[in-house]
């Protein structure tokens, strides 16, 4: 494993999602949960995905790892994984055996509900060594146990709790066990789907601090999914903002904070009360997130958008890219600040 995070350069891609579309249900009743999503994850990068409920961010995580269950279906697109020392391959066409090896060894997921993701009737140690038993059959029992001790130490859990049951741990500890499990095989990518949403802010901070330190040490890439844009601004290298199944803006975190382009991103940024600076009245966003069964025609955001014109009701704006920034809006371009 490399020691430090290598710089994120365009040539150093680890996961590429192209034109990924996912429907729930069939034919006319189908809900388009993901609609032509493009995303690129660089090696060592922390990519934040921000979106409200129904924006498709969790669907993206399960579709890209092929964990999507019926009635969800991948309609189109590709997910290309670039291993360090072999040619890239399409995840969506992997066979069962290869898929099983790819998951957990190359990519792992941490889900939001740690309580539901841990088996309540087996001890933590068994849940950690199970992974090793399946993926590393050559390891001896003693080695597996040794590795389990290392893993709990890695996430800062007292060693004696290795033999505890999940209900004996606090919510924050359970979530750290989930992170330990995700790291068991030293994956390239860790996908975190709202890993701290159910936790208190202090616990959240503790886990994220730990996660950052591990990332610096082990050099894995992270896809961090949350509804909390302010949290992503603290953590991420790059942020993608999703709305109604599409990526509407993607840019380095600094750019998103200093100069958001999409009106939705701008509105989201104005929705967080701050603890510093003067106390100001915030306006927030008008309206409510769209019902995916009835997504407005044209730009899905036009009903809530202060910039909306007639063209927004008719045409879906394409995602335009320039200089590591992209935005999907008729009136904002990644090249210049404001057009029109």
């Amino acid at each position: 494993m490399n020691a430090a995070r290598p710089p994120a350069t365009p040539g150093d891609v680890v996961l590429e999602v192209r034109d990924l579309s996912v429907d729930y249900g069939m034919d006319r009743a189908a809900v388009h949960a993901l609609d032509g999503v493009d995303l690129t994850l660089h090696r060592g990068e922390l990519l934040g995905i921000a979106g409200e409920s129904g924006s498709g961010k969790s669907t993206l995580a399960v579709a890209a790892t092929r964990l999507l269950r019926a009635p969800g279906r991948i309609i189109s697109g590709s997910v290309t994984y670039h291993p360090r020392d072999s040619p890239p391959f399409d995840v969506l066409s992997l066979g069962d055996g290869a898929l099983r090896r790819w998951r957990w060894e190359q990519v792992s997921i941490v889900f939001q509900a740690a309580m539901n993701s841990l088996n309540p009737v087996t001890r933590i140690v068994a849940q950690l060594t199970d992974v090793l038993e399946v993926h590393r059959p050559e390891m001896s029992k003693a080695d597996r146990l040794q590795r389990a001790h290392e893993l709990v130490a890695l996430v800062g859990i007292p060693d004696r709790l290795l033999f505890a049951f999940p209900h004996q741990l606090s919510g924050g500890m359970r979530q750290r066990i989930m992170i330990a499990m995700a790291l068991a095989l030293g994956p390239e990518i860790v996908i975190m789907d709202e890993p701290t949403t159910a936790l208190d802010v202090v616990v959240q901070r503790e886990i994220l601090t730990r996660m950052s330190a591990l990332r610096a040490e082990l050099g894995f890439s992270v896809v961090f999914i949350t509804h909390d844009l302010s949290l992503l601004l603290e953590l991420s290298d790059t942020i993608a903002v999703m709305y109604a199944g599409k990526v509407v803006e993607q840019a380095p975190a600094d750019d998103i904070y200093r100069a958001p382009l999409h009106p939705y991103t701008e509105g989201l940024l104005g929705s967080f009360p701050s603890l510093v600076g003067p106390r100001v009245e915030l306006v927030g966003l008008a309206g409510s997130p769209p019902d995916l069964r009835r997504v407005p025609p044209g730009c899905a955001y036009h009903e809530r958008c202060p910039l909306a014109q007639e063209v927004c009701q008719r045409e879906i704006p394409p995602l335009e890219s320039a200089d590591r920034r992209s935005v999907a809006c008729h009136f904002r371009s990644p090249r210049r600040e404001v057009v029109a």
């Binding site: 601004l233 009360p273 008008a286």
Partner: protein, 368 residues
């Protein structure tokens, strides 16, 4: 509390205590009370007041007892001891007219609008019921009042919403219906228990602004319960910080957030993601995140085990309330000689001016 003092506060809480008996287990030791049932100290001697037209935020982590306070205020729970006064009159009777009158005057908004509205009834039904209970008469005659109610929570045109079922509404709309239902009883006090934490980020602000507007227009005394200290600063006049069943700091929202005194308040502030302070969140933490065991807790500062400034006295005595001026107070041995015990152990006295309790990590002098 700051602001022009009214002769009688709308709602006053004095020494409110709620203990829950818990089962005797191997881990919950009886600590010197052989034979007695162990007690979980959910709310321990909490006092505050709510005034008309003002919002007080009660801030704390899950498990600190803030929702128990809410339930005590609306009489869903009976207090172990202490009193709650509404316009100077005592509540707490178990049944009868007095209790019903109380419940009309003190209304609550719950966290989860998906669970707090009855799924088998329309909005019209859910809002007509409290109107009939409040004013009598027939449900059919309440049309104008229904329209007005929905207008106050900005659900217009009312026709579009009256005959809908909860599942046909979005989360934000449901929470507005829940607010309208609380307002139908024409309450004096509104207790909002995490009213926006289940809502999408983009609509939270709308609901917070709505509550602030209602408080002004209807002169409500509001208690806003939240774990999010940034939103407390945004929407409240005063902030009370609660930790492990006790209030640890209080004062005007600006005082508490800009010149926080208690190490716990500072921990909460430092842990809140804030784009304006990027990069600070992941700087090292000097506290752990575990709440103490509240079953028969020993007499001591309950934050001592997590506190980076903990001294011997913190583990031996419970801190008393120390006034820092302008209505700002704290329960911590790092402040004031009023604590007495602090001086006895030779602790340096922290001044109560802005410089010492500036909201900078490490701005507080560490005592040896």
């Amino acid at each position: 509390m700051t602001g022009e003092p009214t002769p009688v506060p709308t709602l006053e809480v004095r020494g409110l205590v709620k203990y829950f008996p818990v089962a005797r287990t191997r881990t919950a030791r009886g600590r010197g009370r052989v034979g007695a049932r162990p007690l979980l100290h959910a709310v321990d001697h909490v006092s505050f007041q709510l005034d008309a037209g003002r919002t007080v935020a009660l801030v704390g982590e899950s498990g600190c007892g803030k929702s128990t306070v809410a339930r005590l205020l609306v009489q869903l729970l009976r207090a172990t001891s202490g009193e709650i006064l509404l316009d100077g009159k005592k509540g707490g009777r178990r049944s009868g007219r007095a209790r019903r009158a109380w419940m009309r005057s003190v209304q609550m908004i719950f966290q989860d609008p998906f669970a707090s509205l009855n799924p088998v009834h329309t909005v019209r039904y859910q809002l007509t019921r409290p109107l009939v209970n409040r004013h009598g008469g027939h449900g059919a005659s309440k049309g104008a009042q229904l329209d007005a109610l929905l207008a106050t929570v900005q659900l217009t045109p009312a026709k579009q919403f009256l005959d809908k079922f909860p599942h046909e509404l979005s989360g934000g709309q449901r929470q507005r219906v829940a607010i309208a239902r609380a307002l139908a009883a024409e309450p004096r006090v509104l207790v909002a228990d995490e009213p926006v934490s289940m809502l999408d980020v983009s609509i939270r602000l709308g609901v917070l602004n709505l509550l602030a507007g209602l408080k002004e227009e209807q002169r409500l005394a509001m208690l806003y319960i939240t774990h999010d200290i940034a939103s407390a600063r945004y929407s409240a006049d005063d902030i009370l910080v609660m930790y492990a069943g006790e209030l640890v700091e209080g004062g005007s929202a600006e005082e508490v957030t800009q010149r926080s005194a208690h190490p716990y308040t500072r921990l909460l502030i430092d842990s809140a993601p804030d784009p304006a302070h990027r990069g600070r969140l992941l700087e090292g933490m000097d506290s752990t995140a575990e709440l103490p065991d509240l079953v028969d807790p020993p007499v001591r500062c309950r934050f001592a085990a997590r506190c980076p400034h903990a001294m011997d006295v913190c583990r031996a005595q419970s801190p008393v309330r120390i006034e820092l001026g302008e209505g700002h107070w704290v329960r911590c041995f790092l402040y004031g000689e009023g604590g007495g015990a602090a001086d006895a152990t030779g602790t340096r006295r922290a001044e109560s001016d802005g410089e010492v309790h500036a909201p900078v990590p490490g701005g507080l002098r560490t005592s040896r």
